[in-house]
Symmetry: C2
Subunit: 581 residues, 2 copies
């Protein structure tokens, strides 16, 4: 037997018991007459005590143990002389009578401590050692809890967990598929699912009524910090529902998760905002509403003074950074540099300091009088001591840029408290978005999203204006999930494929099974998918999802620990009937 107790379990009431523990040597502390070892496992740390006077040989053997050795010890639980109130086992220690080395350890390439000295690359290569560190284990424990509580909630609401296939069909629409050559079907390929979308809709056609799955999805995209080639969705679908039913159901789920996992009570009703309003007020379809810094439209007060940049701009938008008029030249230059970075792409940044004495100081004093600037301040509701930051240009672009600056200022001013969670439903997304590259419409959500009935009349005449029954749940500036009421009518679905530039043949070849299913009594249905990685990272107060994934891939899509992907053998290639170009 390897252990009678874990390393996190013993308490004063166990004093006097003989116990067996197994775990890792966290450190060895040699005080001459006494030696102490902190023995660690997933459940905690227990102090082992060795006494030179009582058993010199044992004590000396213990002193030779290295960090991360795995040992099994036997001994008596005794009261600890100097108690450690910071850990639950801190009132006891083990007076060791014997121990055995179960496995030795080389010196780890970085310290296995909450704050390690290992760099990102080294930790990625030795991920199995990085995963020993407390904060990393904590993140995966959080993920485990969130997943299980998600299941419990959805099960209590009669959702059925149904597994959909991983080896499906490639559909060139949307992001790139990962594909899998079929050996048994020569020259043909499976695709890995970007989401179980069509299958969950078929389950609604099949009458499953409420479906969920926590499922891996795959997208062959160029990667960013918060993207992984494989990611996990909480995928849900309901039949006989309207948007309101879905929002209520998943509001309940998110509340349940925050309550049970974090002990946090979220708003009883999540606020809602249309896409149009979110873009107008925050320049983002996933606004962080933990703080204001809302957009102010300066078009009326700032045009016509001969400042060409503004006069020619479609939009002049400002945010009011309260109590920031004391920003120095250096701080303002840094902000200007920040918005000029290629990721943001502004030409410059205009500021107006609302001085405490009621005067104004701006970077465009040449063009605007104190009275002019007073009007700006009025429009922005700015008070003495505040700082206006102004961007201008095309409407969409300026909104996006100012939205980024708003988040940046939120960070700078400490307005984005990671312990505060502000959910927001964003609704009424546009059905389509125009793609300059391909010169045609793309589905903003996906081709199965239902247009709003009241906008159907514009489907041919002004498709860009048609709103969808689509919604996202944003939280703290992150999109946690999104969904829509789906099309359940063959003709509407077929019209949608037309709009998206599919030929009838392409639509039939790729999605014929779905359109066919719609002809056999498809119920109205809709659903939603949450990104589990992002949800957990947000709950953990982090913006990067990578830490919340046990074995993540790097920005080149590689697992550097196992060294994948890797070349195939010639035999494998031949069997699959493929070769490299």
């Amino acid at each position: 037997m390897y252990r009678t107790h874990t390393c996190g379990e013993l308490r004063p009431e166990n004093i006097g018991s003989q116990v067996t523990l197994s775990g890792w040597v966290q450190n060895v502390n040699d005080l001459g007459g006494m030696s102490f070892i902190n023995l660690r496992d997933r459940y905690g740390i227990t102090q082992l005590a060795f006494n030179m006077d009582e058993n010199a040989a044992l004590c000396e053997a213990a002193q030779k143990l290295g960090r991360e050795f795995v040992i099994r010890v036997e001994g008596d639980v005794i009261e600890r002389a100097s108690k450690n109130k910071r850990i639950p086992t801190g009132e006891i220690e083990i007076k060791v009578s014997s121990f055995e080395i179960l496995n030795a350890s080389k010196t780890p390439p970085f310290t296995i401590e909450d704050k390690t000295d290992g760099g990102d690359e080294l930790r990625a290569q030795y991920r199995y050692l990085d995963l020993r560190r407390g904060p990393v284990q904590e993140k995966l424990r959080l993920r485990n809890k969130v997943a299980l509580e998600t299941r419990k909630y959805l099960d209590s609401q009669d959702f059925l967990d149904v597994e959909t296939p991983m080896l499906i069909k490639s559909t060139p629409e949307g992001a790139r598929d990962f594909v899998v050559p079929s050996r048994m079907n020569e020259g043909q390929f499976y695709a890995l699912p970007q989401s179980p979308q069509t299958f969950k809709q078929l389950l609604m056609v099949s009458g499953f009524d409420r479906y969920y799955q926590i499922v891996k999805c795959f997208r062959d995209e160029d990667l960013r910090a918060d993207r992984q080639p494989e990611f996990t969705q909480i995928d849900c679908e309901m039949a006989f529902v309207e948007q309101e039913d879905i929002l209520n159901m998943f509001e309940g789920m998110i509340q349940h998760l925050f309550k049970t996992v974090k002990g946090v009570d979220l708003d009883e009703k999540f606020p809602r905002m249309t896409y149009a309003e979110a873009m107008e007020r925050y320049g983002s379809d996933k606004p962080d509403i933990r703080f204001a810094l809302e957009f102010v439209d300066l078009n009326e007060v700032a045009k016509g003074n001969g400042f060409a940049i503004f006069d020619d701009a479609e939009a002049i938008l400002a945010i009011n950074a309260e109590q920031c008029s004391s920003y120095t030249r250096k701080q303002l230059d840094a902000l200007t540099d920040w918005v000029r970075r290629p990721q943001i792409g502004c030409k410059g940044l205009i500021y107006v300091k609302c001085n405490e004495d009621g005067s104004f100081k701006s970077s465009v004093d040449k063009f605007y009088s104190q009275e002019d600037l007073a009007k700006w301040a009025g429009a922005a509701n700015a008070k003495p001591g505040d700082l206006l930051l102004v961007l201008s240009g095309g409407l969409d672009k300026t909104r996006k840029q100012l939205g980024e600056l708003r988040l940046h200022m939120g960070n700078e001013l400490g307005l984005r408290n990671p312990k505060v969670f502000k959910p927001l439903w964003v609704t009424d997304f546009p059905l389509l978005e125009w793609d300059e590259g391909t010169n045609r419409y793309h589905a903003m959500h996906h081709p199965f999203t239902s247009p709003k009935p009241e906008d159907m009349h514009m489907l041919d005449s002004d498709p860009g204006k048609v709103r969808a029954n689509a919604y996202d749940l944003a939280m703290n500036g992150v999109e946690l999930g999104g969904g829509s009421i789906r099309i359940h009518d063959r003709d509407v679905q077929s019209r949608m494929f037309d709009l998206l530039g599919f030929t009838k043949e392409e639509a039939e070849a790729q999605f014929g099974f779905l359109m066919s299913a719609f002809e056999y009594g498809a119920p109205p249905h809709g659903g939603l998918a949450f990104g589990l990685d992002r949800l957990v990272a947000t709950m953990g107060g982090s913006e990067s999802i990578r830490d919340y994934i046990a074995f993540p891939k790097n920005n080149s899509g590689r697992d550097v620990m196992i060294d994948a992907p890797s070349p195939l053998s010639d035999e494998q290639m031949t069997e699959l009937n493929i070769k490299l170009i």
Copy 2:
């Protein structure tokens, strides 16, 4: 709003309420003055009533509804004149005041009834309609329940659900991998996991202590009825355990599942049998112990009488089919044909009828006297009225053949009651098996399985004799799962790779990360994986897993509904840097 209640919800206490229901038209029953519709959803069936006298137009409209139309109805709950005690809603019906067609339906290609008229292929093509049938939905509901109860049990035992990656590295050992070309890493491929084996072992090295995952795995094998290219495992691993700890833990899990899901109490302690004993008594490493028909060794009593087939045979084995001496010539011929089929491969079948009068009648009367045959009967403990069935040949082959015949007789004699569940731990599997094709040893379980310490001394001298710390859980003739204590020592692992014919370079290239992990304090660990598909099928009393999978593939690995796999576009191939041979 689509519904106030589901179609399975209304009871006499709802009489008098106004309700809205939505669902599928199961059938329309036109009785002249009255028409009735059975409205169906996942939760049940509710009868809708239409009265010609009260609302002729509505009644006539209802009569025009076709099977599988989706409708929403409003009406009052009233007491039913002729009650249907077979369904929970059978005491009420809805007096419909209005209805709306939500979606029409073409006539389905087969009936959506418990017993359908659709053939296998048609139902596969329209799987979304097949999934509407009650028995099919019941199977997936069972699967949902088993998965959730598995999670609840493992969570209660401190197991953490950790997701391991799907895009990993191809290792030519074992079954064939499905591979995924990497666009970002030109000329390189990921593999889909055959199991998360190495990752779960790394999690043990990381100190996660107890891990589980219900996870898709992939094997590119030629398919049989109970094999699918993608299948689902309940994958588990524990640190600081011996075999006994693992068997107890998962005995508890299986007991929990049968109790909570099926209300069945399994044996308090599951019986155990070594691999050697299972092969000797049943000719199978997953014996069905719901019935006896155990093997009888006739070598001693049947050799040396000049019957060359027996005299030359390594093994002469019999089973005693009790009360079957009345088998007719035709029945015996059918049995002979059965064992001669290529899947079994016997040359013939010898029988001995133990007649009620104490005499014997056999197919080898020419060689054996009544006294000889009496000895056989004695060895087999056969009584008058019994029938001995005898096979002979090489030991391994004859055991396998007689094992198959034993199961066949079990079926014939009705001894395999699908409502009886008999678990059995099979232990002490051989570590290696000799492969005639490649002329070398293969790992019977996998290369990470630990040899028994007491057999380690034979690892070089007689590797075929070494037993492993490996175990399977069999039930009713099906292998539900299997596992082992793993190697956690770099040197032993390296020796194992040597034995399996890996060069040092190959071992390092493929599994260097694991052997390296073993050098940094790897704890003793072991685990087990259950096949969820098989577990659920067994619990459902079925031998085929396909019915328990929402969207299964056929024997060519195709999904005929979505028509996958399929050819890729040239653009996709070029982007992936591959072409067809």
